[in-house]
Structures are given as C-alpha cells and as structure tokens.
C-alpha cells in the first residue's frame, strides 16, 4: 500500500515541479511514444524528457501538454506510423494495440499497455508497467510522504453528498475513480448514499436527477471537449436547475480523462472547494 501511495505522491511531485529533473540520468533514453490521451498524461508526469511522440489528442483541449510539448510529433495506434517514429517503447492506452503489438515487437519496439484504472491499486500497477519497461526500480528514487497534502477528516466532519456530472449529463457510481476522489475529500457518492447503489459510469435519466438532492456537485468537461447536441447540462431543464441551485466545483477535463498522475490535481481542487463548503455550513 505504501509503495502505491508513494508512487502517487512521486508522480504528483514530478508534475508540479516547474523544471522536472531527468529521472533516469542525463541521457533521455529510453524514448516513448504514446498513442492515447491517458498515456500522454502519464508520460508528461513521469518522463517528460523521454517523449518522442505524444498521442493524436496532444493538441486538443483535453491535453496537458505545454506549448513545446505540443510541437512533438503525434502518434496513433497504427503500425506504420509507430515504426516510422521509431521510439524505444510504445505506450498504448487501455484497450489499444492488440493488433499492432506483434508487428512492433518484430520491429524491435517494446510495447506497454495501460490498464483502465479505477482505484489506487490499478493506478500503481500502471506506474509499475511504465517504470518496469524503462528498467527503473522504484527503490532507487527518494520518497517523501506529506500528509499535509490533504485535509484530515475526523469522524465529526460533515460528509457532503456529492454528485459528479459531466457536460453530457454522465455520472459515476461506485467502483470508479470519481468515487475514490469523492471518498478522499471526505464526501459520500450520492449514488451510494441514496441507496440506489449505482455502479460504474452511467448516464442517469433526467428524472432520477430530479429526485436526488446532492449537497455538492463536481462537474467536468464543461468547456473543453467539443460542442455536442448531447450537452444536457447546457440545455436540460433539470440539469441546469441542479447546477444553479447547488454549490459546485468544475474540474478541467484534462485531469479526469482517466486515472492519471494529474488525478491528484483534481483531488486538491475538489478538496479546497469542499473545505469551503464545510466552512459555510
């Protein structure tokens, strides 16, 4: 458990430092190519100087790349493209690369595939996958745990019932990283609190939203992503009503597109907002 949390903190430290030092010495070997937004997030946090190519979404609104990083070439799950880019390691996103894996390995390129993570264990496993592929041992790196990063919650602290709502009206129940986030900031996921026991990611029917009464709402993907006809939070009567009458915080979609190192940024953002909410009670 400690190893996992440590990996988490380490990743966050790396992200937040302005000029990240090379983790593995002066040379920037091995080089990575990422084919997914999720992979981009991991690489930008863990190994920004080892990136040969970012994914085809690197220049989109959900990308965490800075101006320089956006000029890097783009990669996608296509054998010819990846061979042409000639990285040492290809980092596939969840569900990618099954067909191209064999060809790449025949061409001498190592492949690693992220898994879709919904909790710390899965997340830590992803970190391991990346570091192992680069041949780096966790115990070589300094570890520091800072408990002041997150507010401590005691038994008496009021636990807000929190709803997660994306732009298209999607939400998250138990067994999702949103659920992890909500619990971590000392709240209860409204879908488990209200007894409806919803699991995983789903789009609640508008009538379901009309009857729940969350104390707090986490929104995401509100102004990034693309214009859609299915943006219920813009046009829907019930959704708008909820957002207008409930305190909320908006988290940039880039932090929540998967459970990536930037998840911590999301947690801190929400934590601050919930603290304010508690103060106002």
């Amino acid at each position: 458990m400690h190893r996992k949390v440590a990996a988490f903190i380490l990743a966050w430290l790396l992200t937040s430092s302005a000029a990240s030092p090379n983790v593995w010495g002066q040379e920037s070997q091995p080089t990575f190519a990422s084919t997914s937004l999720c992979g981009d997030a991991y690489l930008l946090a863990l190994a920004p100087h080892h990136i040969k190519a970012l994914s085809w979404q690197s220049r989109g609104p959900l990308s965490l790349a800075n101006a320089n990083e956006k000029t890097l070439p783009q990669a996608w799950d296509d054998a010819e493209r990846l061979i042409e880019l000639a990285p040492d390691i290809v980092l596939f996103g969840p569900g990618e690369g099954y067909k191209t894996q064999a060809i790449l390995e025949a061409a001498g390129i190592q492949t690693v595939r992220l898994e879709w993570a919904e909790d710390y264990d899965d997340y830590g496993h992803n970190i391991d996958l990346i570091l192992d592929s680069a041949g780096v041992e966790m115990k070589d790196t300094p570890i520091g745990m800072s408990s002041s990063l997150f507010t401590l919650h005691s038994e008496d602290t009021p636990r807000p019932k929190i709803l997660y709502l994306s732009r298209s009206g999607g939400s998250a129940g138990a067994d999702t990283y949103i659920d992890v986030l909500i619990n971590h900031v000392g709240g209860d996921n409204i879908w488990t609190a209200s007894g409806s026991n919803k699991q995983s990611w789903f789009t609640p029917d508008a009538e379901e939203l009309a009857v729940i009464k969350p104390d707090f709402i986490i929104t995401s993907f509100m102004s990034d992503g693309f214009e859609s006809a299915q943006a219920k939070t813009i046009t829907g009567g019930v959704h708008r009503q909820l957002l207008d009458t409930t305190p909320s915080v908006d988290v940039p979609g880039a932090f929540l597109s998967c459970m990536s190192p930037q998840f911590t940024d999301a947690m801190i953002l929400v934590d601050e907002a919930v603290v304010k909410w508690r103060a106002a009670q």
Binding site: A210, G225, F226
Partner: protein, 325 residues
Amino acid sequence: MESGAMKLLILIAVTLIIALASLFIGSANIAPVAAIKALFGHGEEAHVLILQQLRLPRTLLGLAIGAGLGASGAALQGYSRNPLADPGVLGFSACAALGAVAALYFGLRAYVPIFALIGAGLGAGVLVALVGQRKRASVLILAGVGLGALATAVTGLIMNFAPNPWALSEIVYWMMGSLREAGPAALLYCLPLTALGLLALFITAPDLRTLALGEDTAQSLGVSLPRLQILLVIGVALCVGSGVAVAGAIGFVGLFIPHILRALIGPDPARLVPYSALAGAGFLVLADMATRAISSNGATLYLGILTSLIGVPFFLWLATRKMSS
C-alpha cells in the same frame, strides 16, 4: 354527424389521450393524479420539476415533430405522386443533421436550428428542382437515398475532424434520433418553426389534390408549379429542420402515417396533409413512450431505431408491392 367529421374527432381524441398518457410515463414513479397536480405546480418539488421541465416539453416536442414529419411525408407523396416518398427516405433529415453538426463543429451551438433548416432546405430544394415528377418514380427515391447517404458521409467526415472519444455517440444520436435530449429551451424555436412549416404545407394541400392528374394537367387547371415547389420546400425545411435540430434524424414516420390514413380516410392528397400531421403527432409520442418504457435500465433505445424497425419492413413491403403491380 357525417363520417368524415367523426373520423377527425376520433383522431383528435386519440392524439390527446396519447399526449396525456405520455405525461404519466417516466423512470420516476408518479401517480397520475399527482402528475396532473405537478403539471400545474402543485405537490412535491421534484415532481413539479419532472413534469414541467421533462415530461411536458418532451410530449409537446414529440407532438410537434411528429406532426411536421407526418405532414411533410403526405405533402411529398402528393407532390411526387409516389407513395414511397418521405423526408427521411429522400435524405432531407440527413441533410438537416449535417447542417446541425456543422453548426456544432464551428462552435455555433445557438445557430443549430438555423443550420438544420438550411440543410433541410438545400436538400429539399436540390431534389425537388432536379427530379420533381418528370422522371420515373424510382428515380426520385434513388436520388433521395443517394442524397441522404452523401449527407451522412459528410457528417461522418466532420466528426472525423473533431477528434473526441465521444464523437461516435454523437453521430449515433444524430443519425438515430432521440427525444431524450429535448429540453424546454427547444420549445421556443421548435414549436413556432414547425407551426410555420405546417402552415406552408397546408397551403399546398389543395394543389396537391389537383396534381393527382399529373403536372401538365394541373398546370392547365391553374396550378403554379414553381409556387408549389417553393412552398413545399419551405414547409418541409421548417418542419424537418426544426425537428432534426431537437431530436436528430427520425425516419419513416412520413412514410407509413399517410399510408395508414389513406386506408382510413381515402386517398385525397389534400386531406392527407392535415390528417397526417395529427396522426404523426400522436404516433411519435406513442413511439417515444415505448422507448421510455423499454429503456428503463440505462440502455437508450433510440427513437429513430424504433421508427426504422417499424418503417423499413413497411417500406420494403410497399416497394415490392409497387414493383410487382
């Protein structure tokens, strides 16, 4: 009371009953009496919200869009003298969807209805001008199917340029249609635009009757073909454009509603336009109720899927019947 007026009254009554029943269906269990009270603002706050913000707009929009599709189908069939004509079959719905998606791509969310109208109008204008009645009936249908396929392809192309993991579900929504996204704001533009479109189509109705004799004879009887074409295109563009802007492409309603009514009230092309509007309204709300009842555990049944499931076998039956006669 003569049988014609009786049939009209029955049709109106059935449509009203369907509309009322639609207010009672939804994933929240609300007793009918409580639902009626909530409609007028009394009772639990959540119930009032559901009735006023969700079920009522959805029902009204279903009525409007269904009326527009029904009337458009009847008018197009009357104009082309072809019982296979329908705004979906002829590609106008896909053209409207293309317009709407283009507006979204350029970030002009507020202009979605206008672009949808323009899309439907351009599609209708091109087809009506090119084909009309001069060629064999099958040519009109083929041209329409081609137009729809082209519009769908270009829509997919636009989606391609807006890379987003959710683009696929976006295409599905536009191509298959759903009243799920219909919010109360849509009422503001959909109802007036559909009303205007229906008016234009009602005006064309008597000329459509005369057109039963053929274009030449109708002209000799004083029908102005250019005027008829313009009114038809405007009417169809307004009805289909506003409908698609709200609910995506819903097909085949304009195909089988007039057909069913022909069996009930006779083949007079003029009467079929307003009757198809009424029956289309009732039918679409009924179909939407079915999708709501079936979709209760999170998986959406798209309204367009349901109308296609009903409409495509019907279309094939009608087409083969026509071809063998």
